[in-house]
Symmetry: C2
Subunit: 390 residues, 2 copies
């Protein structure tokens, strides 16, 4: 265009010859100029503008395609599990000011879970302190361990399918998960707080195991009832003292006789007795030993607190009947899971029968503890809790 | 370039004038030609090649960005739950020839879950039939309902966070989920198989509730023991007859007296008696009524099978103590969950105490039944099971 303007803008002001020469020169110049212009166009200023779009566009595609094929294979794999996963994250994101929590199986308003406030807190997000509310100090709720598991959200989460373990028993016909038993032995072996070459029975919390043990031991007694004793202060397990518990089941086999110190001569007890030994003791935290001596005295050692985050571990416990609970190891009190390490096979069989007769074993959903164990990643919650012990 | 060749390729063969004219004409022609070329270049054949990349690239950008912002919000939401979800889907995809299943909490080889075969099947993928293996016909395993839940994989899956319900109790200080209780009442109301204006106690399967009921009723008896009776054929619940169960707990409060027909005069029983009434009965499936009559006879109605997928429902059951179990309603026997509908408050309180004293209630993980209840979607497994009843 510019070229065009030049020609039209010129007036003939000289002779034909001059004009010729000028024309020739002008046209030659212009031919050069045009050729340059063409060459310049070949370097395409127009399409270089497109490069400014094309290159980022290609880069963005690479960025977006990468995770689908390399980074997060899981994204494409997820189908039926996605909804449950999204719902769990949605409810976990509900803020309750650190004084409560919303649960998928909890109270809902318009179908959405709302905050369930800890005692002494109220309001939609548990931010309001309830005036003059007495804190329940002896509930023993292990909520102080919640943050520990929240920090391990990914490795402690578990997705349970609708058809998970519908059978009455595991495929070895038992009601005890062999995998979980292995995990428990492993944890004891690492922590060195108990000898594990024993039989293991699972219970719905140590509560049930204490009952099972008393029952099993009393069956050894040819002249019932056996005297069930313990040393004060009694462990107010779940606010239920041994006495209350033992009395409640009003068995032919055993009777609560109170404090060990009430026995005339602890060094020689002739009658059949079953002594609860809580070590470390709650509330005083002392490591306890059996008080009563004698042929016919059997002891049940409650080692709920015998873990490094509660006490020093001078030596691995090596008693006939040792009872542990998940409530104190990992803080999952609501899960109601405990186990007993038992030396004597006959006692083990009776405790197993007790568990089966009373509840047909521990819920398979309970035995499926949070945290999975796939691809060799030992992330089951029992094993993870070792980090807590470090 | 072409132009350049033309000029250099020419020999001067004529007079200056001719040359001038030719030159002018030639150069003028060429200037036109060049201008056309320029115009052609302006239409950019070169960069139009780029359009063939740019346009699809931009289209792909949109395609990839769409799900992130519109389609699958869940994708971006999922973070800590993704691993558990992916692991659950991975293990669910392990094929066991329909004669077994792999579980995340099951047997692992090199850290990967392997098939756990149903009885009478073996091999890595449970495809091998074990010769001469006797099928266990009275296990009552409700595995025939597995496909039902597999078809509802998305709505019945549940993701449990590592910090789920760690407390001993729900925030109303009970050990019973109010939400689950509501679901149970709802199902009975829809199915019309039981009157629900009653107290509800949860149990670790109906096994525990039967024990709790016997215990609670025997406490009413001022002159123990109460006679526990049932009508033959006895329901081989989990292969444990009522007799075995009752005898095992060798209580001061009750004693097993055998079959109701053994009572001299069923129409007038003066002694304190507790009668198990299993209706529908297993194995004969008959709807049963209480056999013993008399002031001091109390009955425990085991209605495990009183659901439309097992029997006709002539009328809503309206007994003093009615016991139901998830094992028969949804097929989740392994979950060990049952409930009792109780008319009398005193009996209810004693059964509740029994549950608390024996296990401190049912595991919160168990009460968190598969299937969630978020955003008004009533997908809890108890409610979903209604589809089975249709």
């Amino acid at each position: 265009m510019e070229g065009a303007r030049e020609t039209t803008g010129r007036e003939p002001t000289s002779t034909y010859r001059e004009l010729e020469e000028k024309n020739v020169q002008h046209l030659l110049d212009r031919s050069i100029k045009f050729r340059h212009k063409i060459d310049k166009d070949m370097v395409m200023p127009e399409s270089s503008k497109k490069d400014m779009i094309l290159i980022p566009s290609l880069a963005l595609n690479l960025l977006l395609l990468y995770p689908l094929f390399v980074g997060c294979k899981k994204w494409e794999l997820l189908s039926w599990s996605r909804r449950a996963a999204a719902e769990a994250e949605a409810v976990a994101s509900v803020s309750c000011s650190g004084h409560g929590r919303a649960y998928l199986d909890g109270i809902t308003v318009d179908g959405m879970p709302v905050c369930e406030c800890n005692s002494c807190f109220g309001g939609p997000n548990c931010s309001e302190v309830i005036a003059g509310c007495p804190a329940d100090v002896d509930s023993g709720d292990p909520l102080f361990l919640e943050p520990f598991w929240m920090q391990r959200a990914a490795s402690s989460a578990v997705l349970i399918a609708g058809w998970h373990r519908m059978s009455y028993s595991f495929n070895d016909n038992s009601s005890i998960s062999q995998e979980l038993e292995n995990h428990i032995r492993k944890v004891h072996a690492i922590v060195k707080n108990a000898v594990t070459d024993r039989f293991i029975v699972f219970g719905a919390g140590s509560t049930q195991l204490l009952n099972a043990a008393v029952h099993a031991l009393s069956m050894d007694n040819s002249s019932p009832p056996s005297a069930v004793v313990a040393s004060v202060p009694f462990y107010p397990k779940l606010k239920v003292s041994y006495k209350q518990q033992t009395d409640f089941f009003s068995s032919l086999g055993y009777k609560f006789y109170g404090d060990t110190s009430m026995r005339k001569n602890p060094s020689d007890v002739s009658m059949n007795a079953i002594e609860f030994v809580t070590s470390p003791n709650n509330p005083d935290g002392k490591l306890r030993k059996k008080v009563l001596r004698g042929e016919s005295v059997r002891a049940i050692h409650d080692h709920a607190y015998y873990w490094p985050h509660f006490t020093g571990i001078p030596t691995p416990a090596d008693e006939d009947i040792m009872i542990f609970t998940l409530s104190k190891l990992t803080g999952h009190a609501g899960t109601r899971f405990g186990w007993a390490l038992i030396k004597d096979e006959a006692v083990y069989r009776r405790m197993l029968t007790y568990s089966d007769e009373s509840c047909y074993g521990v819920s398979r959903d309970t035995q499926r503890l949070p945290g999975s164990n796939v691809r060799g990643k030992k992330t089951r919650i029992v094993t993870q809790s070792l980090e807590m012990l470090e």
